[in-house]
Symmetry: C5
Subunit: 354 residues, 5 copies
């Protein structure tokens, strides 16, 4: 679990609006990529300095600025000053413990969302906070680290026949969010497999390890829900928004993401219920096993304890024990031993213990 429950405490005491990066520090250099496109042209370059951005403001193209890495506060600060972004928004971009949210300002929209990815070999969800600023003909995305998250979007942009190239910055915003939400769907496959394998384990050979896996899934679900459930509200707010930055037609697309998010969160509720059922099964399987153990002990003890008593009786040293002198005493006693055993075995068989 790379997303800690804790949060802004590292910053508590500082004045609000102070630009300090809060969150796990990724050791990457920051990297600024600028993609500028319209129907006919597409340029992509990496810039070092925020001062290289202004020329794009005068053009008619859509400009997408991707900032990977939040270590260098001065970049965020420069963007804030140049594009007149509210200090609290800049602060929120830098604090990677945000809750997904949508905020409307006169000149821009601010969206925070959590991208997820899965470590390949282990069931371990990693979270990356992505902040989006949608301005007129400009989209800024702030990510914690460089990764392949946006690669599918890049390849689509390269195709000059794609829908995306014809439409504005709000459609780009939609595509970015859609790409991130799609990752939640792939997570569902992982959950499906995991839950299926745990169910098999439960039925065949439950162990303390099974319980740990169940608890681990439960834990991941608890954290995941915190990233997913605010998305519902976020997307409803986007659709209700009357900002001129959002085209009415594009909102129809956001409604599509909204449907996806509802499906993801309903699936999560289902997992939650399934997990709860598994715990019940685990507990009763432990009880059943204990009962089985008890039965074996009871069968052994109940058969041999009376026999041992009888043997003990004839091991006594009384001077006058007539049976001891009988010629057939010893074989007869073996008959008694066998008879008692058979009787008890039948009794336990009737109880369906053996």
């Amino acid at each position: 679990m790379s997303e800690s429950l804790s949060s802004a405490s590292e910053k508590s005491g500082l004045p609000p609006g102070s630009l300090v990066h809060v969150g796990e520090v990724h050791k990457h250099e920051h990297k600024i990529t600028v993609i500028d496109y319209n129907k006919s042209t597409l340029t992509r370059r990496t810039i070092k300095n925020i001062e290289e951005l202004p020329p794009y403001q005068t053009t008619d193209t859509v400009t997408w600025v991707i900032i990977d890495g939040l270590k260098d506060v001065s970049i965020i600060d420069a963007i804030g000053q140049h594009f007149d972004i509210h200090a609290l928004v800049l602060e929120d971009i830098l604090n990677t413990h945000q809750r997904p949210k949508f905020e409307e300002f006169d000149d821009y929209l601010y969206i925070v969302i959590k991208a997820i990815s899965l470590a390949a070999d282990e069931f371990n969800i990693e979270y990356e906070q992505v902040s989006l600023l949608l301005l007129d003909k400009f989209v800024f995305t702030f990510k914690e680290k460089p990764d392949a998250l946006f690669d599918p979007i890049f390849s689509r942009l390269n195709n000059d026949k794609s829908h995306l190239r014809n439409l504005g910055a709000d459609y780009l915003t939609y595509i970015i969010m859609d790409t991130i939400v799609d990752e939640y769907f792939s997570l569902q496959d992982t959950f499906d497999e995991l839950i299926e394998s745990v169910e098999d384990e439960l039925l065949n050979n439950p162990s303390a390890q099974t319980l740990n896996t169940i608890q681990k899934i439960k834990r991941e679900l608890i954290f995941l829900r915190r990233s997913v459930s605010p998305l519902r509200e976020l997307l409803a707010a986007v659709q209700r928004s009357e900002s001129p930055l959002l085209n009415e037609k594009t909102k129809r697309y956001f409604r599509d993401i909204y449907d996806h998010v509802i499906r993801v969160s309903e699936a999560m509720e289902s997992y939650r219920d399934l997990i709860a059922g598994m715990l019940d099964i685990y507990l009763s399987s432990v009880s059943n096993k204990m009962n089985e153990t008890m039965k074996i002990l009871t069968v052994f003890a109940s058969i041999f304890i009376p026999l041992t008593f009888i043997a003990g009786v004839y091991g006594m040293n009384f001077a006058y024990m007539p049976e001891l002198q009988w010629k057939w005493g010893y074989p007869a006693l073996w008959g008694v031993f066998i008879g008692v055993s058979v009787f008890l075995l039948r009794f336990f068989k009737k109880k369906k213990w053996i």
Copy 2:
């Protein structure tokens, strides 16, 4: 469970609006049936090509187009282009992991609903996504596979005195949805029987198998709820809708389905509560059984262990043990054995163990 929890991941990375069939692929050829009717006439034919549809647009009759099988994306695409359907709707028709929903457009209404059926010999619910497009005098239904789902509607259409023949496309839409929701009612009978038989099992002879059945019912309920609960909202939206495609009088019929759906979901809540109660009974029945096992062990052990000790005492080889020489020592000891046993048996009887 034929409805996987997972979903659109097969498609993630593709641009939105790309027409790709997402979901379990049924190996059936697609089949297009066209039923065209009004009060006096009814024609039914199977067409191969979507180009055969336009003539129906000019008539005054109601035209019902049933597409069985979603494998051939080009058909959906052709319908989309010809009838001017939004790309995201076409995408949703092809993705059979939709949540039931209702969407209003200017020229058409879009409804997704899950039809259910039950494998005869086993308790296994199968889901089939049915998409409905209601246009002016046209109804399209998209199904995953050819089956007998609409047979009752066909026979009703054949009867030229039926209500259905007199009314418009919105009433046909109602009839289709009503037919699908009625299947949920038949499911209730199955649940009733299943739960009753599990309850009998629980009282008479609970086993690990019983627990599995309980968990299976619980699991099916979790999935079923995901198909049923959005229907409530869907039907409320249909009733609120002010689309000219829906006649005011027909809405009264949709309210009837709404009542049915509420009854189904309340029944489901009841099942859920009953199932929860069963788990409690199962757990305490396991505990009770263990207690019974313990009692048998305790009775055996507690009676024979003291007797064995006494026998052991008189098996000792001390040179001076006066009792051993007593003439009546041995019979007297048998009296002690019997006395101790009787005393302990009475003790356990008083505790109501035997």
Copy 3:
């Protein structure tokens, strides 16, 4: 449980509005009673045929028509045609698996409610669906079978000084519903006694039977809630209704029933919570009993096992065992036996086991 969870499946496949009686078929002949009254006069007669009703429509009196038995569909059909009742309402009257509901039409109001009664000797709630049609100066009540449900209303009507004789058909409707809801209150007494006796049993002598009773109460509560909880909404709708058929002053009386229903459903929530608590007590009482069993076994085994070992030692046949030759060896060993026992008994006493 006389109210099955299942439902309209017997009818699925039929066209909506088809008049078929759905539900348990009561083997009674149908019976139509007509009570016609105003302040000064009261007539009561049994009619055979719906054609005898029309004369009452022209009078100024309130006419109450009670139909007992739903077997004869033609009567419902005749009423429907004569009084112009919507086909779906007629269908709902015949289907006795309805959820309580209130529907407003221009010329009449339709109310469905569940009357309950209790088999005298056993805790078994029986449900009877009562449908009410309130027209201008007419009230129709449809019941599944003839019974004494309305007897208190009859005797009140016979009293020409009663309030009821002065007021209109809406007040009669109120009186009918009030009479039915009052039965829910008497049920509370039964629940009270039952729960109290189960609690006594739990404290004194819990058995598997106690658990079954608890589960039975739980089950009846689940079903009862399905009849009670929609009443809240139903009565709120009656109060909000702006139908001219409901006098403003009468609505104040419906609010009184509303208060009753809230009290009944709160009581039911309390029972639910109490029952949940009982299950916990039952489970821990089973655990406690098992612990007690274990303690007895442990005390017996732990005391006698060491003693048996010691006796075993001096039963060995070694050639050189000096103790065996000691004169006081045997009595001394008894001292050891008693000493060990006393020590262990004290140990267990300190643990508060004996």
Copy 4:
């Protein structure tokens, strides 16, 4: 529990509005106290007959009429007729199983609230229904029995400098309700102490008695909640009320009670959660104890059972058992006995059992 779950069943079958006292009958004579005050004067007298009230209606003073005891229905009836109170309100006053509620009429307001008190020596909450009628310059309070509930208000009234003397009948209503709600706060102290003592018991010496106390607290909480939770809604309705009988300034005071009620119900929720936690602790403490019992048995049995076997071996009477003839056989065997014991004790020590 002095508040039965059951209710109006004693009355079911009677016409609505029939004045019959429903509830536990207190054997007290009824008593009518009239307190008449304004800033400068205060008179207090006990009257026998409702006919003595009218003179107060013409004065400018606030008149508070306290009726203790509901046995004499004629008094309620007389008040109802004289002050023109709705029949259902009179019925509600007499039925002491009401749910707290607030009803607005043109000329008066009707409030039902439950006063609570605590039997000193035992944890047993007693409920008394208090009905309030607020008319212009008149307040009626109906109580089930004479008690000291209003004593603090009397003494405040006696003080002619008190706020209360300057203000109207609505402020008196507030003071009465505030006095009753304050009792709920004192109850919290009792719950605090009780829960703390139960927690101590749970940690130190849990017994079946502890479980009963937990269940008793749970039960009282269930009943208490039924008196407290409707108060929230009641007080919100009072604040929303636009009745001229309520001064705007006084409503600010009712908001204060509203805050108190919210605090009480939140505290109750906390108790509920704490109690749920206690049950879990109790159950696991029973399990822990059983485990401890098992360990003792296992240690004893596992050590002595092998030793007894060895002793048994050398108690056999085979003709050729060389060890028996060894000089050091017997002492050597003691070595074996001790060695096995030490080994097993170490094993159990390693398992942290002893």
Copy 5:
């Protein structure tokens, strides 16, 4: 837990609006600090008497009055009279069992909030009630005791370049609340660590102590929630407020606190779920341990009990027991002993017990 569940009972019976300090009495002298600032100047002094305040009312600066200690009721009374504060507000300031709330008056706003701190060495949350009065250019804060809570604000005020110095009394109010809410974030770190250590304990060595820690965390969460959850509503009310005392721009900052509060309460919900999961693990770990104990007992008993029986047989003193005379009888029997042991060990190995 320094925040008692109980409450105003110490005051019940007193007239509303009576100024009495309710709550834990801190033995500190009260202390009044006045900080007066604007962009260019800052003065800070301690005053003894409320009469020294008026001069500040005529200036244009923001005046912050901090009252530490609520023992001296006369100060609150004097402020109330001088600044015309409602009697119930003064009462609420003195009663430190308030629920966080926000109340709007024409001339001032009243906010109650709980500051928390953590005893360094133990997990013990302490609550301090902070009341805020926001007037035009005046902020009063009432605290229970002198502590370092506001030190970060003081140091920020000392910096004449800080944002705070430029803005009004509403921004100061925001800063105070933000400082308090930030403490809730630091608490999250503590919870994180605590829960992580408990989880480790659970997996490695669960004990009754672990259960107590879990219950303690649960308890603290229950209390904490009562301080946190009303904050949501409070801050929503602040944002909705149309009081001229709150600048529109400042409200944006309050929305920032609102986001923080939502994150804190979501984290708390997560803790709650995690804790619930831990209890399940604890219970099944106890069951698992018991099962392990049982297995050891069963293995020992089941192996040695049959062997002991066999030894007992050959310890019998029958006159005719041919085996006893066989030369190889004794060694052969050892073979039997070993054979039986090996067989049983294999059996238990197959069951995966050893």
